[in-house]
Amino acid sequence: MTYILKPQLHHPKLPANALGFTRRDYEGSVSTLCAGCGHDSISASIIQACFELDLPPHRIAKLSGIGCSSKTPDYFLGNSHGFNSVHGRMPSVLTGANLANRDLIYLGVSGDGDSASIGFGQFAHSIRRGVNMTYIVENNGVYGLTKGQFSATSDRGSKSKKGVVNHDSAIDLVSVALQLGATFVARSFSGDKAQLVPLIKAALSHRGAAFIDCISPCVQFNNHTGSTKSFDYVREHNEAVNRLEVIGPRSPIHIDHEPGTTELVTQHDGSVLALHKLGVQYDPSDRVGAMTFLQQRQALGEIVTGLLYVDPEAQDLHDGLETVDTPLNALSDRELVPGAAALEALNASLR
């Protein structure tokens, strides 16, 4: 059952969305992160995206692991249920939640430590199962909450604040997600809301495993020279392949870009992704091409951002399992319990 009540307008001057909610209705508790932390900008983008998509806040479930990044679900969507689980295991908890109720929107928030170090297995397996979710990694290349150790996304050769050089190969979560069958893959930067908000909107509207790797500098422990996840470094090396506009299912489509430079992708829920090309020829419907492009550009030191891959026809885990349309948590006793009659035949077969 879904109840949609008209929200009371606490702030009559703030603009309201189609549901009558203001941006403030999508906010959460006051952040306890460091001033300037990239993660707070991502929270703001999530708020913006949900506001713009007219999502009823209580129809979203926010899940996270442990870390500064994983704390952020407390700081947005205060009316949504949230689950700050254990370190590296958000994907499994989200998968379970999703199985229980296919009707909610699932937003997983994690860190690079949470997803690429301890949680790499769960990250991979939730993606390859096609869990219908938006999975955002707030990627700062370090463990913020435990004070600045390298994470598995730190680039080889990058320097820690203390001057130690990382000698392990980095895990590129975007490439891994592509390889494991994610049906929506993007990379963005906490410092570029104009790029990030539409990506989050598109991911939330996507059916299937949508992954966003969002570089999000840690001002406390990884924003120095020698870091490849600092604000400066990311700004200098950022190569966006496209700009995205998300057009609601029932909204008219106006394209004010040059003809031929915009591609329209209609998602499963009817929303349209208008992809404006930027310079390079990039086809986000070609998985193998995307992987190749990424490998080549990353070898040159570029940080490729934008909507890197999308399959609007994607299936999700529920499709694979062929579950009923009613959320499993809403099935009645009658639908769940076969009753005494069934046991008679069964008992007979066991004699």
């Binding site: 949609i4 249920h81 689950f83 295991r89 379970g96 109720n101 062929e322 769940l336």
Partner: protein, 610 residues
Amino acid sequence: MPKPLTRTNDFVVKFANVNGSGSASANGLFAKAILRMGVPVAARNIFPSNIQGLPTWFEVRVSEDGHLGRRGGVDLMVAMNPQTWDRDIAEIEPGGYLLYDSTKPLPPEKFRGDITVVGVPLTQICNAAYNDPRQRQLMKNIIYVGALAALLGMDPAVVEALLGEQFKSKPKLVAGNIEAFHLGRNHVLNHFMPLSLKLRHSDKVGDRIYVDGNTAAGLGCVYGGASVCAWYPITPSTSLAEAFTDYCEAYRTDPETGKARYAIVQAEDEIASIGIVIGAGWNGARAFTCTSGPGVSLMQEFVGLSYFAEIPAVIFDVQRGGPSTGMPTRTQQADILSAAYASHGDTKHPLLFPQDPGECFEFAALAFDLADRLQTTLFVMLDLDIGMNDWLTTPFAWDDSRKLDRGKVMGFEDLESGRDFGRYLDVEGDGVPYRTLPGTHPTRGGYFTRGTSRNPYARYSEEGSVYVDNMERLLRKFETAKSLIPAPVRRDAKRATRQGAIYYGSTSLAMSEALEVLHTQGRDLDALRVRGFPFSDAVFEFIAEHETVFVVEQNRDGQLRTLLMNEGGIDPAKLMPVLHFDGSPITARFIADAVGRRMAQGEQVTEAAE
């Protein structure tokens, strides 16, 4: 030579085979045929941790009196495995019997003088009749069943009927198997006298069903309303998830759309399995996983989250021989402590101890009500013996008026009515708070779940007093659990006694028999079967009433005894451990010996043997 054993409907037959050779199905046929003759049977499979080529045994206890625990000892050995010949022969009781394949002659020193030896040229008979190697392998097994039928006086009509059922869809196989059966049977009829171990039609099976505990538990999960299962294969728990899958397909397919009213995920490991269960439980679906010791070790962190954040979850631990990989195809009750106090920090978790497949069904269904009511992880502790062996058990029954008890959940109307919602508020004083499910109400009842300390309204808090209040409430909740866990089953001795015994789980049948044996020795004990943890007052009253209480378990360290002492403040001196932990199911003989010896030492034999 001792007199050959003379027994009717009361003996032990053991088959020594090589795994992967198809013997399991023939041996199962043998056991089931006896059942169909109305004689109670218990069969136990002792198999290696590989797929093909290693020794495997199948022990059949035939007991008209209904003693279906392991007795100890073997009356008739069917020795089909040259690898294990020596120890198989050694295991036969004096006066017992040996059936073997006499195709290749064996030197006399390979036998024993105090047993009756029946050599049947099984391979020769078989090879004469069949050419295909796989057929030869399979039919040889049926031939020895035929031989046994003749030796023991088994009703051939029963076997023929069973073969008919088994191969219903492949009538050609029915005829072939019946023929093989008679090849063996006729050979024996032509060459040997029947043994003094005899089968005879009876009516002692009644309406009981013959099923293993994993199957029963899987069915119980369906009846308990579980709709999400996440699991990772591990012996001996795998067949529980498989049974759930089969029964869901049968009973939970939407008749109109053909779609599934359940979701079963084979996860990538045990951590993911319990994570999925907890996510589903948080979101209001009944969910479970099944595993064994190594899985319980891996799930510890999540179980602590479930304890502290108060999320319902059910874990079936089908226990095997530990520690580490241990003896993965052997049985033990050695995860009791690991489960009861799972996870770092101060934690306690309810456990259920089903005694047989019947209770596996019952407790599985009950587990979901309890987990929802207590909002915590509940462990159902099976073991390999219950889980993977077919047991004769009461038929499954269900009361159609029963409702799934979802526990304290506030819905839209509650919230809309303005009822105060504090996720960790102890409203009724029983320590159990109310919860809301995601998506319930647009503006009320949302909260942030976490494994960190927080106040009754679920807001983060590092204040000591807030933390302490919450931890003490959790203790109150555990008190509440005592009244919800199935009460212990008491069985007083026929004579008054100051001696007691506590036992649980698969020990039950051997225990009953041992109590009878001890009684005939003039050693009487009141017995209490504990069915779950935390223990109710009745358990501690029982202990208080007795001078000495034997605690009978299938582990090395007396793990239930530890729980009894620790939770009940019981003087350990009073609790005598009786411990069987070699990985085979505990036997009546073992218990009777161990308890009898100790009682003798303490001169606690109250009366002479009858």
